[in-house]
Symmetry: C2
Subunit: 453 residues, 2 copies
């Protein structure tokens, strides 16, 4: 094809497409999530990227709807999913008769939002969701298990300095009702939710100016959500305010039970704390809410968020399906950690060993590779006819931990020469004698944290 | 919401959405593929589902183009990918400067074709592709490695009765040229490709009637592709025909080299054979071609197919990028195996152990679950306040291999009671004493084949 007719290869703006080494690290994170969810007994779920627009828009509205990729194919009005919650609701409503409750599922999948292109904003991105859905009811112990899962998976990723911030929407709603703002709860919640971004002054301003909240009530709100202390102190302070509003009281009871549960689940005290400013703007949360902050990078916002909702699928079924769950914006998280150079690079080679044949006949090299693979060692054979320098350069460029040479001497002696590509050290011995050393080195690499912070 | 306003939950026709138990088995297959590809040193790759239409249609035409989901968003002409080859071509052309060659990648991802809805035909389906891309050149040893990978992965899935059928397009093209059909090679290849479906008579008919191939030439073609014998016998027969056409001769040399290589890679002789009828309709193959037949189910057609191509990305770059690869239509394969009830059901529970607390205080149950999870045992706690019958019924419905009871006696004695849900056997002992037994049972389940045929 002549140069003039070539189509310039390019990827859509806002669509992450990683280079191979980064992709390997992304996959490591994904695997850590999947393993954690499986350890807690969650089913994997996979739903279509495309749905009937009617299904996706049963609930959505306003901003979300504008951003959705929606189009006709023949007579069918189609849309690409913009989250994993709506597809879950459809799935559970559709298959309720076949599922056993509580239904626990995780889903790691791509979702689509045609937002304005902007650095760090993605139009196609992975969400990683877990949810526990009950049939009619769901015990509060589930609300305590979610932070335990967050704790397990963040530690698995190599993180230790984080805090899961917990609140209960009933407390906020009840408190606002006590202040006479019972008809404005959604607006107040959504404003309060911005406090980390805009600060207390602006929250008060928005409450008074936009929603006509009396100045005194607005001040009491920002004072309330700024309440500091240990979990026990905050619960005690809340108890002192209790009395008038049943929802408020119920919220305190729930929060206290959930905090005790989280401790029982073995989450260390410094990994979670009550924070009355956590509101979660989404209107479907009705009880416990969570956000998770990386202490060294609070500026990136919550990395795992979620909460309890009364009814998952009210738009599709009369069956009441309460649930609790949490979500990770995986693509954004990966992007930020990569930009900040906080990703562990220990496992960024596609193979552990590159076998380099030094003779024309590759049969011995192939046999050695087969032997290594049987031992679970990821092995590639360099099969091109190139100079030695090119071959070893390839092992180097791909960050392969080991290169294995097989020349005439080695073949005659039934041995191989293994070079540690980091230390430069070379050893000649039988393959079987080499396996433990290679395995040990790989295990040490695997044990290195995926996120270094 | 009143019943009248409910949106009926439904999934688009032609979009696979599995129930939890089937999804677990699907994930097991996917994991087996990923592990195999990793063992051979392939990078994972993930590309966007959406691309500029211009990119996807640089090469496509006719039927494919009609089936594509294509739409405008603002000023942008978008299309959903219909295979993983075109995105790979774009990726390699775009990033050639950053990649090291040979570039080995696998990709397991969803692709989209708006075909007429039909039982067993999917509009959204997974493809699982591997490719090895060279820069300018790529050794023939790579053509021999692909069948070794197919062999490894099918065996990992539990299959043994299959045959990888191998041919070389140069032989077919050369032979057709020898018959004076040098200007019709594509048409003849595409017709020959149908032989498994329509038989030799119809192939001859189509050749003579549609493409005006002389009857004698058509007969020689169907005789040629029906040539039977051991690999050595077929090579010998081909050698006797050699002489006039250089491409034909080169094809024989390549086929012989590749067959010798496949043997060197340890693929048993009964798992591959030369079959001169394998043509692969796709016009980009230029050398070795593969198809894989399950001997007990030849009617489902090839389960892994692929081949060698001269130039991956000629529409995007002047750089010549030859490659070899193969593809599995994962969704269709899963669908068929499921319909035929050939899927192993050994690992279809979301957890290995269901911990059932028999006291109000769940703290001891939570501690036991934490201990099991530390041992890598997938554990769920039944946290709802239900009757015992409901709890144990849940373990049964979810096919959990073990239920673990924790009553007052057990808590007092620091023990647990474990019930094997299949045998009904119950044992009471400490958690540590139980772990090896549970592990062994799970390992035995994991060792059972994923596909039983």
């Amino acid at each position: 094809m002549s140069k003039a007719n070539l189509v310039t290869p390019r990827t859509l703006a806002g669509f992450m497409e990683l280079l191979p080494r980064d992709q390997l690290i992304f996959e490591r994170i994904r695997a850590a999530l999947e393993e954690t969810y499986a350890l807690y007994g969650f089913y994997p779920l996979d739903t279509p990227v495309l749905e009937h627009a009617e299904i996706l828009f049963a609930k959505a509205g306003g901003e979300t709807e504008k951003q959705v990729y929606r189009f006709m194919k023949g007579d069918t009005d189609l849309a690409m999913r913009f989250d994993l919650t709506v597809p879950l609701a459809k799935y559970v409503a559709k298959n309720a008769g076949e599922l056993s409750f509580p239904f626990r599922r995780y889903q790691i999948g791509k979702v689509y939002r045609g937002e304005r292109a902007q650095k760090g904003r993605f139009r196609e991105f992975y969400q990683s969701d877990i949810d526990i859905i009950g049939d009619g009811e769901l015990g509060l112990a589930n609300d305590a298990e979610i932070p335990a899962i967050i704790d397990t998976l963040l530690r698995k990723l190599g993180l230790d300095e984080f805090v899961i911030r917990i609140n209960n929407r009933k407390i906020l709603s009840g408190f606002f009702t006590l202040l006479g703002l019972g008809d404005q709860i959604e607006n107040v919640l959504r404003t309060v939710d911005k406090i980390d971004k805009i600060g207390a002054d602006k929250v008060r301003e928005e409450l008074t100016d936009t929603f006509a909240v009396p100045a005194e009530a607005a001040a009491r709100i920002t004072d309330f959500i700024a309440l500091k202390g240990s979990n026990a102190e905050i619960i005690a302070a809340l108890r002192e305010m209790a009395g008038e509003d049943e929802l408020f009281n119920l919220g305190i009871d729930e929060l206290e039970t959930v905090c005790a549960g989280i401790l029982a689940f073995g989450v260390p005290e410094d990994h979670f704390r009550i924070d009355l400013s956590i509101a979660r703007g989404l209107d479907y949360y009705t009880g416990t809410v969570y956000e998770t902050t990386l202490l060294r990078h609070p500026e990136i916002g919550s990395v795992c968020s979620g909460g309890r909702y009364d009814n998952l699928a009210g738009f599709y079924t009369e069956r009441r399906l309460p649930g609790v769950g949490m979500s990770i914006g995986l693509t954004r998280l990966f992007y930020i950690l990569n930009e900040m150079d906080e990703l562990g690079r220990a496992m960024d080679a596609p193979a552990d060993v590159l076998v380099i044949p030094m003779t024309d006949d590759m049969t011995p090299a192939i046999a050695v590779a087969a032997q290594l693979r049987k031992e679970g060692i990821r092995t590639q054979i360099y099969m091109e006819k190139k100079k030695f320098k090119v071959k070893i350069g390839y092992a180097d460029k791909l960050h392969m931990p080991f290169a294995l040479f097989l020349g005439e001497d080695e073949i005659r002696d039934g041995k191989v020469t293994v070079k540690n590509m980091v230390s430069g050290e070379q050893t000649t011995d039988t393959v079987s004698a080499m396996v433990p050393m290679i395995r040990e080195a790989i295990a040490a690499k695997k044990a290195e944290p995926i996120i270094v912070m």
